[in-house]
């Protein structure tokens, strides 16, 4: 491990390796122990089922006093994720707590895939589509999963 890396990050990384979260892989970058390559499996019974979604996660200098920065690299049709992959999730913003960890963040993102929340004040066309025609939105999400999140 890199010198100067806080013990907490080392411990979290070790535990992520030893006891991975089901459906989630998080590997630290070889050159930067604060940068993680993440793959989240689309939860079953969601429009993202059988897709694999790549994310990047970065632990800022102030971590754990500030939240990790997380972003979807794989294109995804979801009312709380924008076209740049940025995620609308309270615990990544003002509801962050230093008692939360990488694994709890990733679990929350996995849960967000199971429970899209179009009522969030996220002003984008996906949320609008989700509210006005949910079945069509789910259909599009399934299509995107097939197109962008399969065999990648």
């Amino acid at each position: 491990m890199a010198a100067g890396l806080p013990r907490r990050i080392i411990k979290e990384t070790q535990r992520l390796m030893q006891e991975p979260v089901p459906g989630i892989v998080a590997l630290p970058d070889e050159g930067n122990a604060r940068y993680f390559h993440v793959v989240v499996a689309g939860p079953s019974e969601s429009p993202y089922e059988s897709g694999t979604f790549k994310l990047e996660l970065f632990l800022p200098e102030e971590y754990p006093m500030s939240a990790p920065k997380v972003r979807f690299m794989t294109k995804i049709y979801h009312p709380n994720i924008d076209k740049l992959g940025r995620i609308c999730l309270d615990i990544l913003k003002d509801k962050w707590s230093p008692a939360l960890q990488i694994r709890t963040v990733l679990l929350s993102i996995q849960a967000l895939l199971s429970a899209p929340n179009p009522d969030d004040p996220l002003a984008n066309d996906v949320a609008e589509q989700w509210k006005t025609n949910e079945s069509k939105a789910i259909q599009t999400a399934k299509q995107w999963t097939k197109t962008y999140a399969t065999d990648n």
Binding site: P6, R7, R8, K11, E12, R15, Q18, E19, V21, P22, G23, Y35, P43, S44, E45, S46, E56, L57, F58, P60, P64, M65, S66, A67, K69, V70, R71, N80, D82, L84, R86, C88, L89, D90, I91, K93, D94, K95, W96, S97, P98, A99, L100, Q101, R103, T104, L107, S108, Q110, A111, L112, L113, S114, A115, N117, D120, P121, L122, A123, N124
Partner: protein
């Protein structure tokens, strides 16, 4: 863009300004308004502000974390996910709201009992250690550890720190809880509002 959306943006902007004005931070009235509560449940990136970005560099600190004391207030429904407790559950089966213990309307009411995070089995057990007064065990029989730095009580002592607790009873190391209270003004485990003088050092 609809009036609702621009209204929200306006509110977010003014909130940000409030944050800049340190003197105002404790004097804001708590607004018991459904739309405000709703707004607080999940706060979002304002896409309109950075829509020009063609990429996001996570390693730059372009988006400062917005910490609003009022958002932890009594009118807030906060969520806390607690590591081991949640890991064992099939997350994808439940809706997000069901999964996260939600704290009620009043920060003074009894808060959910939260198990103290315990170190994994590879952490030395007290009976295998030289054990000079460091046998502070959780109900599961493991050494108590700080949920922020994840150090157990032995390591905390070795680093000349102490365990500390706060008025809601959650236990941390002194260094971590001091920093957390200073930055967020609330308990990292249950979000109860806290001040520095709520921290009690445990002489164990």
């Amino acid at each position: 863009m609809s009036g609702l959306v621009s209204g929200r943006r306006g509110r977010r902007r003014s909130r940000r300004q409030r944050n800049l004005d340190a003197s105002a931070e404790q004097d804001e009235p708590i607004v018991l308004d459904d739309s405000v509560i709703d707004d607080n449940v999940t706060s979002c990136i304002d896409l309109t502000e950075t829509a020009d970005d063609e990429f996001v560099d996570l390693t730059s600190s372009q988006t400062p974390v917005l910490i609003d004391d009022n958002s932890y207030g009594a009118n807030d429904s906060s969520v806390v996910i607690l590591g081991d407790l949640e890991d064992s559950l099939p997350a994808h089966r439940r809706r997000l709201e069901d999964r996260l213990p939600t704290i009620g309307d009043s920060s003074d009411e009894d808060l959910p009992v939260v198990p103290i995070k315990v170190p994994k089995p590879n952490t030395p057990r007290p009976n295998t250690s030289s054990g000079c007064g460091s046998s502070i065990l959780s109900p599961e029989g493991n050494l108590i550890s700080c949920p922020i730095c994840l150090d157990d009580v032995k390591t905390i002592k070795k680093n000349n720190d102490k365990l500390a607790t706060v008025s809601c009873g959650h236990v941390f190391c002194r260094k971590c809880i001091q920093q957390a209270v200073q930055q967020n003004g609330c308990c990292p485990m249950c979000r109860k509002k806290l001040k520095k003088n709520n921290i009690v050092v445990l002489h164990v």
